[in-house]
Symmetry: C2
Subunit: 161 residues, 2 copies
């Protein structure tokens, strides 16, 4: 039973690693350019703080995922993973939310503030950002499941007492 | 000992309630208008999706804070608060991040995307949004402390076994 649990959580961690790595790579490689009134207009992730934060958060989560794969379930450290998983879930949630909010402005614009949508000019950039955001969202959901799973594993003995 | 713990967590919950209520009220009442080229330009929170999400999240957290105050520490429900606290922490983190990302664009603009900063035109609106974001950030931090505290309370017996 414990072995099945361990394998299930390892599988989730591998999936999360795949998602965070994809999100990082897809966001970093996103760029496109357009010519507007003879001026070349270049779009890349590093032009916007929220996207830079997204890349840093996904990279940190990737590193953590690799380390967490090798933590033995017999050590006390493994129980600390409950808190660390929660912290990483929050980091991912926060970075995806920030990037999503700015991407939404990029796609729809905000007429009240006079901000025009840019996706019409740089569709390739927008599509890659969308892909990265979907991967980031999947990673956040997997981490939330991992967290709920860890809490459940830790709390179950208490509930049955 | 258990009583001190209960009082401490009640105190944190009251503080969190104060912070989420202030964040909701300050954000909802934020508005300002400016005249640019004879056109009146009105700024209010409902013009931007991220700010609407922020208000909804802070209101939900306020409601949850009130209910959590009355959950008895003797019931099993109290242990479920660990997970619910984590969910509310994530909701607050996510909404503050999204609103902060858009507010950052509003303050600094993004020259690459051609988005001009608007805080020069509507300083009153910007100040109120900043206030609401600070209150939201404080609420998120208090909820994170509550979550760590609950996890600690639940995990301690396991660590000492």
């Amino acid at each position: 039973m414990t072995k099945t649990r361990r394998i299930f959580s390892l599988l989730l961690r591998l999936l999360a690693l795949g998602a965070t790595l994809s999100a990082t790579i897809v966001m970093v490689t996103s760029h496109d350019s357009a010519e507007v009134l003879n001026l070349t207009f270049k779009a890349k992730y590093s032009n916007e703080s929220a996207f830079k934060y997204f890349v840093i958060a996904e990279a940190v989560a990737s590193g953590y995922s690799v380390i967490a794969l090798f933590v033995s379930s017999k050590t006390l450290l493994w129980r600390l993973l409950v808190i660390l998983d929660a912290v990483i879930t929050m980091l991912l949630t926060s970075s995806v939310s920030a990037a999503l909010a700015v991407a939404h402005v990029g796609k729809k614009g905000n007429s009240h503030a006079g901000w025009l949508p840019i996706c019409g000019q740089v569709p390739k950039f927008c599509n890659q950002v969308t892909g990265a955001l979907i991967a980031g969202l999947i990673a956040a959901i997997i981490y939330f499941l991992l967290f709920i799973y860890s809490v459940h594993t830790v709390l179950t003995p208490l509930f049955t007492v």
